[in-house]
Subunit: 135 residues, 2 copies
């Protein structure tokens, strides 16, 4: 099934458009697992159109990303941007600032897993500037 | 990328063949996130060939499955078999017996997420009989 603009493999629908308050460009969230007290885990899929990315943010219990298609960027503050692509897994430790999104020319399909949500889910911060994104 | 026998979409390689002690038929695990004390979450992918399935088992903190391709079965003890397919998410609560695997004719690609691994990961039990599988 190749349904979206970049002919990426779409496993999940594009549901809720990411708010301009937290994302630059067009991104679409699809919630897979709502937070509850049994699994204490938030899971969903985000499709980032080319050039789209999250703001800087952190997670009180950290975050795991699983890339299912496309090419994107992940940056932990103070480290170089990592190129992420289909099949990759990246982790961001608790309370560490990071951002993630698509590459300029190819979109990104990524699952996110936020464990131990009893500690909190996400703390949103400022946008990633064009200069930071193009490094 | 359509690389395996059923022309399913393979995001991850087939790594470690599931032990005959815990699986019927051919299944292949690929570990994505090893257990640690930071994320306390075990994540991996299992490809089940047609007809392959796990034994009955339970998880002290429960399990979440995300189906990325193919068609399979999931059964929680005492409930009917559920058909699971690409895009589906199923949960098994803590300490509840279940099994999962491929349908007889089409394989299954599934991610598993085991949260709160400090409580334990998996308790393996007896094989799913052909009679149970064919219900």
């Amino acid at each position: 099934m190749k349904t979206n603009k970049n002919e990426l493999e779409a496993i999940f629908p594009q549901d809720e458009k990411g708010s301009d308050q937290y994302f630059t460009g067009n991104s679409y969230n699809y919630t897979l697992v709502d937070v509850d007290s049994v699994f204490t885990t938030a899971i969903g899929n985000v499709y980032f159109e080319p050039g789209a990315r999250s703001n800087w943010h952190s997670h009180p219990a950290g975050q795991i990303l699983i890339i299912t298609d496309g090419i994107g960027y992940h940056q932990i503050e103070g480290q170089p941007i990592e190129i992420i692509k289909k099949g990759d897994v990246v982790k961001c430790p608790p309370n560490v600032r990071h951002w993630h999104g698509a590459s300029p020319d190819v979109g990104l399909q990524q699952l996110y897993i936020v464990p131990n949500t009893e500690k909190g889910i996400v703390v949103w911060q400022e946008a990633v500037t064009n200069e930071q994104y193009r490094k």
